[in-house]
Structures are given as structure tokens and as C-alpha cells.
């Protein structure tokens, strides 16, 4: 049991971060506003969780200008996808017990 707990990724303990990652692994990319609408969280809250995932190298972003307004696109990195898969496997193992 203890090993299984260690296999769980701390970065995904938080609901918002888990939701961000779930959405990003099935989409090529999502922009900031798209994520915000999907999750129904505030700008500040979303930004801080995105930063956490970014620091762990699980997601990356790309800044662009659309009609002169800045638009940030978020992508899941390969590291992030791998970590997410591992996390889900760990949950499944745990539920089997």
C-alpha cells in the first residue's frame, strides 16, 4: 500500500491540476480562456496551477497574438503525458486492492 501511495504523483493531488492535465492529454492544445471556461475557476487560480505544472515540465505554453490580443496556448509535454499515465495506473492498482 505504501509503495502504491508513493507511485501517485503529488502534482495531481489537486483537483484543478488533475482536470487541466486530463483536458490537455486528449487535446492538441487548449488556450487559457478555453481552460478557464472548462474548469470554471478564476484567472489567478488557474494561472497558479498552470505554473506548478509548468515547473514540473508537465506542460508547456506558447504565446501568440490573435487580433492584437495576447493568446496563450497550453500543451501537455511527453513527460507530462507519461506522468499522467503513471498516476492513473497507480490509482487503478490502488482500487484493485
Amino acid at each position: 500500500m505504501k509503495e502504491l501511495l508513493n507511485a501517485l504523483d503529488k502534482a495531481f493531488e489537486n483537483r484543478v491540476r488533475l482536470a487541466i492535465m486530463s483536458a490537455l492529454v486528449v487535446n492538441d492544445f487548449l488556450d487559457f480562456n478555453g481552460l478557464k471556461e472548462l474548469l470554471g475557476v478564476t484567472d489567478g487560480n488557474l494561472a497558479s496551477h498552470l505554473k506548478t505544472l509548468e515547473k514540473k515540465d508537465y506542460i508547456r505554453y506558447q504565446k501568440e497574438f490573435m487580433d492584437r490580443k495576447p493568446n496563450t496556448k497550453y500543451f501537455a509535454t511527453d513527460t507530462g503525458k507519461e506522468a499522467f499515465k503513471k498516476h492513473i495506473n497507480a490509482i487503478e492498482q490502488m482500487l484493485k486492492q
Binding site: S22, A23, I88, M94
Partner: protein, 204 residues
Amino acid sequence: MKEKYLQDLKEIREMMSRSSRFISLSGLSGISAGIVALVGAYLIHSFVFEGGDYLTFEKVVLPGDALTDLLLIGLGTLVVSISLVIFLTTRETKKRHQKVWDQQTRRILISLSIPLVTGGIVCLVFLSHGYAGLVLPMTLVFYGLALVNASKYTLDEIRNLGLLEIVLGLLAFQFISFGLILWAVGFGLLHIVYGIIVKTKYPA
């Protein structure tokens, strides 16, 4: 403890489907598109194909006014049903507080239009060479391919609808004299049935 992780899995699944699929399909739009198609099929039957055997593999010369009628009725059916679908789907999307024009809708429209535009051009080429009878089965096949192609971004039912349209189209190729009836079944009846299924299965 277990409850928390079960809940996590449920949320992951929900977020994956909500972020990548367009789920605000309106059942009513299927039903109304079906009715419009039935009216269109009836008009074609009585104005264009009446009095001539056009549903064959042979090259047939449609009299000038029959060709105009065919194009007008076809175009009219297309415009009316697409407008109805857009109007009703927009209403449904607003009801669910989701955005109408977002990444998902764009993606779904692009994957629909690639087979549809290809099919439309092929149909026009055949029509301009006088093979009017082949156009009906062709529209069914290409429409079915478009639905199958777009179905990964929306409700699973759409894939089955697409497969059924393809089967009807292939049948209509083989039994070409029943082309219009099969066309009416595919674009009329199936849309109505699927509209009712979607409406009861996914109530707003």
C-alpha cells in the same frame, strides 16, 4: 480513501470527454432535417423524376428545366436543413451554457467538410456529364463518410448513423432504381429516428 480516487477517475473521464467532444447536438435538429429531406425527396419525385427513367446506370439527358429543378430543390433542401440545424444547435448549446464557436466546433466542422466538399464536387462532375441517377447513392456514401470522420469529436451515436448511411448508399448503388426511396430513408427517416434517440438519451 477509495472513494476519493474513484471520484478522481470519474472527473478525469468527464473532463476528457467534455474538453474534446461536442455534446450539445440537438435532437430536434435531426428531426427537422429529416422532415425537410422527406419534403425534398417528394418534390424531386414529382417534379424531376416523374415521367422518365432517370435512376439507372445509363447516361440520361435531363431536360433543361428538370436539371434546374433538381439543382434548385437540392440546394433548397440543403440550405433549409443546414440553417435549421445551426439555429437549433446554437439554442441547445446556449441552454447548456457552452460556447457555440470554439475549438471543438471548428474541429468538427472541418472533419465534416472534407468528405462533404469532395463528395459534392464528385456529384457535380457526374451530374454535368449526365449521370443523374448515380448522384443519389453518392450523396449518401459521402455523407456517411463525413459523419464517421467527425464522430470522434461528438456523440458515439453519430458513428453508427454514418455507417448506416454508407450501407444505404452502397445498396442504392446496387439497386439503383430504388435510389430515391433509399435516399429518403437515409436523409429523412434515419435523421428523424436518430433525432428522437438523441433527444431521449441526452435530455437537456
